[in-house]
Amino acid sequence: MINVDDIRAKLLSKELSVEEVVAAASVNAKAKESYGAFLELYDGLEDQITYAQKLIDEKGEDAPMLCGIPIALKDNLLVKGETATAGSQILKGYTCPYDATVVAKLREQGAIFLGRTNMDEFAMGSSTEHSSWQKTLNPVDDTRVPGGSSGGSAAAVGLDIVPIALGSDTGGSIRQPASFCGIVGLKPTYGTVSRYGLMALGSSLDQIGPLTTNVRDAKYLFDAVKGVDIKDATTREGNEVSVSKKMKIGVPRDLMKEGVDPDVLEHFEASLEKLKSEGHEIVDVKFETAKYGIPVYYIVMPAEASANLARYDGVRFGPRVDAKDFNDSFSKTRTEGFGEETRRRILLGTYVLSSGYIDAYYNSAEKARGVMRKELSEIFEDVDVLATPSTAGPAFKFGAKSDPLAMYAQDIFTVPANLTGNPGISVPMGEVERDGVQLPVGIQFIAPHFGEERLFTIASEVTGEEYTK
């Protein structure tokens, strides 16, 4: 698969120009259009290409790492002058008035925005089937979903169209599609990457992060977009987390007793064996609150979503359905503009926040979240990282999870890190066979806050990459 180092080497040696690299990506994207990874390929990249080529010509080796590299952006990130819809009809035709902070950073560094990628509406889903625009097919097996909600970004990388893409992860929306598409996905520590210009789903959970073909590229992209931002008051600097050569890896096996496919577990155990043979220590840990992750998440996230999505009123953005008065117009616009899952979650969020129920649900969930956070920080006093499978099984067929609770169960291993703000990475750990097709599955590592470097180090041992900080 293509990667940043290879493309960069060719750009620096002048074997390829930025224009040629971008043209190749565009041709490839058009050839693979039937997979539905992109909602739109941006026009008018000439200025970006000229700027990147100039940086490379003038600075050579000192040009920013991602200079001249084509990147795909999830449809919930704002790119000035371009359309962004978060997968929703309610933002049909919305033109972004400014750049998201991550986009502005990448623009300055000379990365080339190839296009915007498909996603579940407002990032609500784990299969990209909730996009109001189109289906996205899994790059490995086109009868299966790519995962979600960053399914388009994962497919664009999995199809080898771009080496890197940005997604957002609220409950697993980067790591789960990475696992399903056989690539690397990182959800950074809450507060490391600015959310300014990211359309909000659950503001205390959302984090923007990379989807890439290898661990090193995930590090390059993370480094390119991270940093404190005055426009996002939740961004902050963390203390450096040490990285030892030989790590103590905690495995919460209680969580895997049921519901995980046996061949996924086999690959998981084999990956741990490999790490053990390389000198790492594997220990069982109890992470008792983790089993409450999904119920806690499905209170907090809809609650925050119902508040965040109140802004879609047909007044300031998107189309409006006119009616006899403001309230009627407000309701009609939202009814037509929001899809089924979005409406369900808004109603659920409204329910858990309503006066009779807020203590029983929302406040209990917030308390539970604090208990989980405490338990996890105590676990990290003893171990360097936690390891779990990224998902309980490989990519599923379209329509296989039509029951909302079955879809929600997808996030079992990924939600705890969002609830506690910890960083998590998914990297491919092998393939399992379904209906005669080999499907990728991922292993997830979770580290203490700001412990991304630990994640890159241990994950690259699984993928067998050379990795140095």
């Binding site: 919305y94 033109t95 008035p97 400014y98 205390s204 005055i230 008051a233 939740t234 902050r236 609150t289 409450y292 119920p295 806690v296 499905y298 209170i299 109140a310 009123d313 047909g314 007044v315 300031r316 953005f317 998107g318 409006r320 006119d322 009616a323 006899k324 008065d325 403001f326 309230n327 009627d328 117009s329 309701s331 009609k332 939202r334 009814t335 929001f338 409406r343 808004i346 109603l347 659920l348 409204t350 329910y351 858990v352 309503s354 649900y361 209990s364 969930a365 917030e366 308390k367 539970a368 979240r369 604090g370 208990v371 405490k374 338990e375 920080s377 909302p404 609770l405 929600y408 703000g421």
Partner: protein
């Protein structure tokens, strides 16, 4: 347990219209979900505050030039007139 009346009330609060048929389906689905998430009440123990974030203030000075974003922001509105966003009538007589 979420019933059809609950769904109707929530839908009104959230400014979403639901048909009779949707009320039925949503009441069923939401009851299942609410039952499932009720488990959170079982969790006990010491909690660590979830957010360590502080309010971040900036110096109240050096404002940007007035009006430089107005045009771009007005463009995203469904209807605008001059420097105003036009909305349907808010107070109705009936």
């Amino acid at each position: 347990m979420v019933d059809k009346e609950d769904v109707q009330r929530l839908a009104e609060l959230a400014r979403i219209n639901v048909t009779e048929e949707e009320k039925e389906t949503l009441a069923g689905e939401m009851s299942d979900i609410v039952d499932f998430v009720s488990q959170v009440q079982e969790i006990s123990g010491d909690a660590e505050p979830v957010l360590e974030h502080k309010n971040v203030m900036r110096e109240d000075g050096e404002p940007h030039e007035g009006g430089i974003y107005t045009e771009d922001l007005l463009k995203t509105a469904a209807t605008a007139k001059g420097k105003n966003i036009v909305v349907p009538k808010i107070v109705s007589n009936d």
